[in-house]
Symmetry: C2
Subunit: 257 residues, 2 copies
C-alpha cells in the first residue's frame, strides 16, 4: 500500500505529555480493584523473566494481578509462530477471561522478573457482592483492553511496517511513562528484543531490524539492547499516526472529564 509520506498529525505526544502530568498508573482504575482484592488473594508469586505466568492451554482457575514487572500475552500457532496480543504493565489483571472450560486460550509470559498476586476465580462472586462497584470496574478494565486490542488490530491490518513499529514504540513509551512520570523522557528501559516487536506487530524480526535502522538513520528513535531513546517525538508520532483519543486510552482507563 503506497502511502505518500507518513501522515500529518502534530504534537500528539505533547498531548500525551500533558496527560502524564495528572500522574496515575497504567490501568489506573485497576488499582481500585486491587485494593478490594487484597483481602481475597491467596498469596503472591514470583516468576522469572522468560517463564510463563499462565501456560497456554493449561487449566487455570485463578486470576493474577501483576504487581511488579512486565509481561505479555501471546498465542501460538502449531507451526511455532507467535503472536503477541498485548503487553501488560503493573496494575494489569491477567487471566480474567480464561473461559471455555477454564483452559487458557492464550499464554502469559514474564518479560522481566515479575510479582503477581493470586486471586481464585471463585472469589469473584463474593468479592463483587461485597463491593458492588467492582463488577463495573472489571467491565471497564476488560473494555479498555478490548480497545487497545482494536487499536492493534487496525495497526496490523492496515498499516505499513514503519507505522506499526512506530505505533508500538510510542504506545509502550506512553504507557510506561504514565507509570513512572518522574523518569527521563527521552530515554527509557524497554525489556524487549526485536523479535518481540516483530511478534507484536505481525512482522519478522529481521524486518523489524531494518525498520529500526531506518529510524536510527533518520534520528527518530534509537532502540538497542533494551533501551529506547526517542530523539524526535513529533516525527515519531507523525509516522505512527496516533489519534489523541487513543493516547488517552493508553494512559488511563476511565476519563473523569
Amino acid at each position: 500500500m503506497a502511502r505518500s509520506g507518513y501522515g500529518s498529525k502534530k504534537k500528539v505526544l505533547h498531548h500525551g505529555a500533558s496527560q502524564l502530568a495528572s500522574g496515575g498508573l497504567d490501568d489506573a482504575s485497576s488499582f481500585e480493584v486491587l485494593g478490594a482484592i487484597a483481602n481475597y488473594k491467596t498469596g503472591d508469586k514470583e516468576v522469572r523473566a522468560g517463564q510463563d505466568i499462565v501456560r497456554l492451554g493449561e487449566r487455570c482457575d485463578v486470576i493474577y494481578a501483576l504487581v511488579a514487572g512486565w509481561a505479555f500475552l501471546y498465542s501460538l500457532l502449531q507451526d511455532g509462530q507467535r503472536q503477541i496480543l498485548q503487553f501488560a504493565l503493573p496494575g494489569a489483571l491477567l487471566g480474567l477471561d480464561l473461559l471455555g472450560g477454564g483452559h487458557a486460550t492464550y499464554g502469559v509470559e514474564a518479560l522481566t522478573d515479575v510479582t503477581v498476586s493470586i486471586l481464585p476465580q471463585k472469589a469473584l462472586e463474593p468479592l463483587s457482592r461485597n463491593h458492588p462497584q467492582i463488577g463495573l470496574l472489571l467491565a471497564g478494565l476488560a473494555s479498555r483492553d478490548r480497545l487497545l486490542s482494536y487499536d492493534h488490530l487496525t495497526s496490523i491490518g492496515r498499516r505499513s511496517a514503519h507505522e506499526r513499529v512506530a505505533h508500538l514504540l510510542l504506545e509502550l513509551f506512553v504507557r510506561s511513562h504514565a507509570q513512572w512520570p518522574g523518569h527521563l523522557i527521552e530515554e527509557m528501559h524497554l525489556p524487549l528484543t526485536q523479535e518481540h516487536i516483530g511478534d507484536a506487530t505481525g512482522l519478522t524480526g529481521v524486518h523489524v531490524n531494518r525498520v529500526l535502522q531506518d529510524f536510527r538513520r533518520e534520528k527518530i528513535v534509537e532502540f538497542r539492547y533494551r533501551r529506547l531513546r526517542i530523539r524526535d517525538p513529533d516525527r515519531l508520532a507523525d509516522i505512527a499516526n496516533i489519534e489523541p483519543q487513543m493516547v488517552r486510552a493508553w494512559i488511563r482507563h476511565r476519563q473523569p472529564d
Copy 2:
C-alpha cells in the same frame, strides 16, 4: 512464511456442531443483561443497512443493544482505509467502551437493517446496584469480545490470506448458526461484500476475490452475493486452523461445564 500445506486439525466443525445442539444465542449471556436492561432503556431505534449506528468520533453517552440484524465495528485511517474490528450479531452490546471523554473511538455500521435498544450510560450505575450480578456479566461480555479480538489479531498478524479468509468465514458461520440452529447447515445468508471480508482480514478486496475463487475451484466454499455455502467443512476448518477452544468462545459466552 512458507507453510507446508494448511494445517492438520480434523473435525473441528463437528465439535462446533455438537455444541450447537445446546442451542443458545450469540453472546448468550448478554440476554440476561438485556432482560435486566429492559426497564432502563429509553427506547428503540431502527437503522438502515449501510447507515452508522455510532458515528466515528461522535460524542456518545448511550449504549445500544443490538436486537435484530447484523452490524460491524470499524475504524478508519485518514487515508480512507478501513479496518473492520468485529461483527456484531443480535444480542451484542455496542458502545460499552466509548470512554476517552465519551467520544467514539470506532464506528458501528449496520450491515442489514437493524433494531437497537437504547440505554443511557448513566443508567449503568443504578442498574448494577439493583442487579448485582450485572457488573460481572458485563465484564464477561467485554472479556469475550476481547478474546475474539485476540483471535483476530493472531489471524491477521500471523496467518496467510487463505487461512484468514477461511477463519473468518468459519467464525461467522458458527456464530450465526448458534443463533438460528434450525437453519440448513450447508448454506446461509451472509450479508457481506468481498470488500467487507477484506477489511476484516486486513486484505484487499481484490485479493479476497482470488482467495475465494481458489476455494470455489477446490469445492471448499462458495461465497457469492451474500450467500455462503460450505461444501467441505472439514477441509475449511483444516485450512482455518481453528482451535476447538475458540469455537466454544464463538458460540457462547460462559461455559457451564
